[in-house]
């Protein structure tokens, strides 16, 4: 089994075998980050460009560290410091970057499909680091890796995803991935945040958090995008917190050994109470650690000689 695709655009078109290959490879990469010398020569002479049109700390740093631990040269470009502020189009920026011969371009963009557009135009491998409300494949892969490492399996687990499902690329990629891997996924959020027809993706949808987390093995909380408060999708953060925050009360509905996840950044006291976020069942920081390993695995699997 090998990864034959040129780009990593979404989990929707990933096969189970491909997901397993990435997770297995990532598990082997965990060890590199525990060494005193956290670097291997594997991608010496390769160049990875992180092209970020949206704010990011975790994902961009994670990709940068992943590249550096593999000895690749990593270059970060963020919208605020790029020629985009001078009015250059995404395509022109990308064509110019291509002319400098990188090997992989990691793209985050607020427009769904932006990485797909570049994948068709550039000969380099494109990795989607989040496109609009569409997909965030590397987040889903690191989430699945974390679940598998902690629970020993994914198939048969009950996973509850709570929050703004409509606008969440994390939720979408995880729904694709987790259902493919045989988990039972339920989602919950205010009715305005549950996309119509979400059941067709193979998930159970609820408008009460209690219904979704009852019997859950994994509770995955999503960040409430506070900027959406203005759009009247929900009345107020306080109102949201009252109905959809994970706290020491409703967590008792989940299984006793249930684990808590969050893709970050967290709004403490809004979607998750601090005692839960920092509690013994939280595996939020394991997610971050595994994120580096997953990205190392993808960079490793995507680079290579010509056929």
């Amino acid at each position: 089994m090998k990864l034959t695709r040129k780009d990593i655009l979404g989990i929707q078109d990933f096969s189970v075998a491909e997901i397993e290959l990435v997770l297995d490879t990532a598990e082997s990469f965990i060890e590199v980050s525990t060494r005193e010398i956290k670097k291997v020569p594997t991608l010496r002479g390769k160049t990875v460009i992180n092209l970020f049109y949206e704010a990011s700390t975790r994902t961009r740093t994670s990709f940068e560290i992943a590249g550096k631990r593999l000895s690749a040269d990593t270059i970060n470009i963020s919208a605020s410091t790029s020629s985009m502020v001078k009015g250059e189009t995404l395509i022109d920026t990308a064509k110019n970057l291509e002319a400098m011969n990188p090997d992989i371009v990691v793209v985050r963009h607020s427009a769904a499909g932006a990485p797909h557009l570049l994948a068709g135009l550039l000969k380099q491998s494109i990795i989607n680091a989040g496109d609009g409300a569409h997909e965030h494949p590397t987040q889903a892969l690191l989430d699945m890796m974390t679940i598998r490492a902690k629970k020993g399996r994914i198939a048969g687990l009950n996973v509850a995803i709570i929050g703004d499902i409509s606008h969440s690329r994390v939720a979408r990629s995880n729904i694709y991935g987790l259902t493919k891997m045989g988990a039972r996924v339920s989602v919950a959020g205010p009715a305005t945040m549950i996309p119509r027809g979400v059941e067709t993706l193979g998930v159970a949808a609820y408008t009460r958090i209690d219904d979704a987390i009852r019997g859950a093995d994994i509770v995955m909380m999503l960040r409430i995008q506070t900027e959406r408060e203005k759009n009247n999708i929900f009345p107020s953060l306080r109102e949201y917190a009252n109905h959809f925050s994970l706290n020491s009360r409703n967590i008792t509905l989940a299984r006793e050994d249930a684990l808590i996840m969050h893709p970050g950044p967290m709004n403490r006291g809004v979607e998750i109470s601090p005692d839960i976020a920092d509690g013994p069942r939280s595996i939020i920081l394991d997610q971050v650690t595994n994120g580096v390993a997953v990205r190392m695995a993808l960079l490793y699997l995507l680079t290579g000689g010509d056929e």
Binding site: T42, Y300, E307
Partner: protein, 179 residues
Amino acid sequence: MVQQKVVMDAEGIDRSLTRIAFEILEKNKGVEDLFLVGIRTGGVYLADRLRAKIAATEGKAVPVGILDITLYRDDLSTSHRKPRLGKTDIPASLDGKRVVLVDDVLFTGRTIRAAMDALIDFGRPRLIQLAVLIDRGHRELPIRADFVGKNLPSSLWEAVSVHLTEKGGTDQVIIEETN
């Protein structure tokens, strides 16, 4: 028809490993600071067997590590196929240790070159020695083994494979013609 020949059977392998275990002890004057490192995958099982033999002789446990050399290969940027990455597990620092690398077949020497680069990333060993069950020749790098089970002159068109019970099968070394 593929020509197959068994060049070493279970007893032969066992005797060779017994001798290598004694040679390791003799050359290193005991087990002090000794550290065995098996190269994935065949070398891991052989390192384990050597550990057992050394423990039976000296009554002392020698640490054993596992090394996957994939990330240090010199053909990663030229070959399209990505080798499946296995786990590396070096349970302690190699600083000041007498490291014995263990592999099943010594061929071009490129694996051993990669393994030595990898080991240095885990500390500064006092010395590195090499133990192999089979040396089939055709070196492409200036590398030689300190402990050899059997020298097996072979042509480049032959494949040498070490079968071990740990991998599922019986203990034997087979040489076969490939076209």
